[in-house]
Symmetry: C2
């Protein structure tokens, strides 16, 4: 599937004390400032037990994704990877 805007998966390997409420609040902060960097956070997945978070976004660059996290809440991802998306056939 081709995206006109690059797609990124960013990975936080271990956020200490992660809770559903905390990750939701951090995500809201990302959403509130993402337009500043031309980023759109689409969806995220997290695991309270291991503190892992995966965020899927459209952005002009990995630096733009990192900038939103930095300015939004300061929790920088360990990796920001440009990805292509595949889905199950419909």
């Amino acid at each position: 599937m081709l995206h006109a805007v690059p797609l990124f998966m960013d990975i936080h390997r271990r956020v200490e004390g992660l809770t559903a409420e905390a990750v939701s609040a951090a995500h809201q902060q990302d959403l509130s400032i993402q337009a500043r960097y031309g980023v759109r956070f689409i969806r995220y997945w997290y695991d309270e037990k291991t503190g892992k978070v995966f965020c899927l976004s459209e952005a002009p660059s990995p630096d733009a994704v990192a900038a939103v996290h930095r300015d939004g809440h300061g929790l920088l991802a360990d990796e920001v990877i440009e990805v292509a998306e595949g889905a199950e056939p419909v």
Copy 2:
């Protein structure tokens, strides 16, 4: 967001020689046998440059996810993590 069926993100950190065609073919093999283990692969993301693949699935257990990959094409994920999903507000 609550899922009646557990949701998993599995991560292949580095698949050697990864191409869009190869990952699509492997995914098709997963789809063709997933019902045997009660798994539904929903979507995946990959990066040809680093060989990383992320697969999102619904499954009864992490072992079931691993079993589909093992029987489908033999490329086991490095991690299979139960996750909760969050999305942008609509």
